[in-house]
Symmetry: C2
Subunit: 341 residues, 2 copies
């Protein structure tokens, strides 16, 4: 059972999408630690029998590049070393991320994920909602093996993730969303979990509060850069290269940074025309929107914002002693800004 | 803001459905403590602004008799006294219960709860799923104010609740569910939360491990008795008296104790006929099923099972010193078995 969710971990053939540094997986130095976190993840769910067991098995299709456990473990190693607390916490953050994916697929009515049927497509929304709930609660339960502070940090971060997602859904179709509200949503739904990965990696490696603060800043800024790059990709990326459907933010009524910038920059008549275009069902809508965003400098504005968060993330690493993992964390700031998916 | 979710607490006019002992609300001795837990519940959600704030306000319609906080606080008082840890934990268990109600209404496609539109009816399934997630995570976050053990107990219990619900949904339409599997589901979805209320009340009142074990048994047995009585009500109760739609377990493909007993007792041909009847859409199905269950002694069997759990719950209280709250906990065992809703 412990290997149920553990696909082969091999530093030379990293899972799809894992960034490379100097020609090999950026996660190679922590491959054994990720494998241990995977083992704890699987072990904590191994008690379920039929008819629940097939769901647990299907979970392996939801596991991607393990970016959040990797951030936590690389930070730990750069701050002093990985220990068993880190493995538990890495399993917990991956479980929380997985729970949000299971619920996201219900929210988005998605039928496939990585070319495999989603839980909702295969077992229906009811099973998916309860499976996500079970994963959230299991994550908290395993976190309680560590200490009160870990529960506080993970509880607080996860609450901000869910609060951010709730704010986002409540603002769907709000074509007047402010930049401040956009960043408030982003800070919750994406950056709270990457930020806590940085802090947890540092705290449980015995780092000072000052270093822990900086590693939290690192995680937050990487998360923000990553999400802004993702939002840009959704507007201007190439579907074949990205390997997923793009333009979904527009379809779902989500305003992202380039659009918010354009709506704030354009004279009010032109801004209303842009709102009209966004809500239309013109077949060339995505191209037309991109044209406007290029003309207003809004794509460049969002790109600069992502790069600025990348710079802030890199700056937060300045005090760490030189090491392989510090170097990888630095490289990840570039990857988060430039990634094609 | 702190009073947002706090309807008037008045020992003489308890919320609908609160049991009475000696003519007044069974929760009267802890009314101020329930009010304090309500205040903490509201305070922890007070930071949300528009457009999320109306959801937080609507939550007050989801709050019923506060059975779980009351169990926790009455146990605390019977074991030595209520302190601020208990208020936080009472708020947390009520928040978890509320999260399950919000998600249950999505699962059941319910449009009203206590004559008020459900979240899913008013804001849609997406908002409801994320609101439930946010409440689960907020409950864990406030629990972390107490200590590691509280996080472990609440994390473990909530995980069993969600696991039990998941098993139940995965077994919908399984007309061969065993009695052992039925009790396994019940032990999770209903009894795990009432059991942990008993344990938390005792532990944080400074009770010994032995007393804490007994209070957990008390909570578990009350929860089991309550749920079996509820399942019986669904099959044989009077809708007008119960104030809700009955017969829903049959419609949703859920086998409960009386049916499992009948299917195990009847010769196989008659058992298949009963399965056929359950799956039919005869207008007189509920009455016909009740007739079979009376003939096989299955209603009496389930009633005895509920009474036996009531007796076990009462026995678990034996070592407590006499007090008003001990007396109320004893009376609640009768109420949980006999209740009309």
């Amino acid at each position: 059972m412990p290997t149920l969710l553990t696909p082969p971990v091999d530093a030379n053939t990293p899972p799809n999408g894992v960034p490379k540094v100097a020609g090999r997986s950026a996660f190679a130095p922590i491959a054994a630690d990720i494998a241990e976190a995977d083992r704890l993840f699987a072990e904590s769910l191994a008690g379920y029998r039929s008819p629940v067991a097939p769901l647990i098995q299907h979970l392996r299709h939801y596991r991607g590049k393990r970016l959040r456990p990797a951030l936590l473990l690389l930070t730990a190693k750069a701050c002093g070393g990985v220990n068993p607390h880190h493995h538990i916490l890495a399993a917990a953050v991956e479980m929380i991320h997985t729970a949000t994916l299971v619920h996201d697929d219900v929210l988005d009515e998605a039928t496939t994920r990585r070319h495999i049927p989603t839980f909702n497509a295969e077992w229906g929304n009811k099973v998916s909602i309860l499976l996500g709930d079970m994963l959230f609660t299991q994550a908290f339960h395993i976190t309680s093996r560590v200490d009160r502070r870990a529960c506080e940090l993970i509880g607080g971060a996860t609450n901000r993730v869910c609060g951010g997602e709730l704010k986002q859904v409540c603002n769907r179709g709000n074509w007047h969303l402010s930049e401040a509200d956009y960043f408030d949503i982003l800070d919750g739904k994406t950056a709270a979990l990457t930020a806590v990965c940085g802090r947890l990696g540092a705290v449980y490696a015995g780092a000072s509060e000052d270093v822990a603060d900086k590693m939290e800043t690192y995680g937050r800024c990487v998360g923000l850069a990553f999400q802004i790059a993702d939002d840009l990709l959704d507007l201007t990326g190439d579907e074949a290269k990205a390997g997923k459907t793009l333009g979904t933010d527009l379809e779902e009524g989500k305003l992202t940074l380039p659009l918010i910038h354009a709506l704030n920059t354009l004279p009010s008549t032109a801004a209303d025309e842009l709102r009209h275009l966004i809500r239309s069902d013109r077949p060339d809508k995505r191209r037309k929107v991109a044209e406007v965003l290029t003309r207003t400098g809004s794509l460049a504005y969002a790109k600069r914002a992502a790069e600025e968060f990348g710079r802030q993330a890199r700056a937060a690493l300045a005090d760490l002693l030189p090491s392989e993992c510090k170097h990888i964390l630095e490289q990840l700031t570039d990857w988060s800004v430039k990634r094609e998916r």
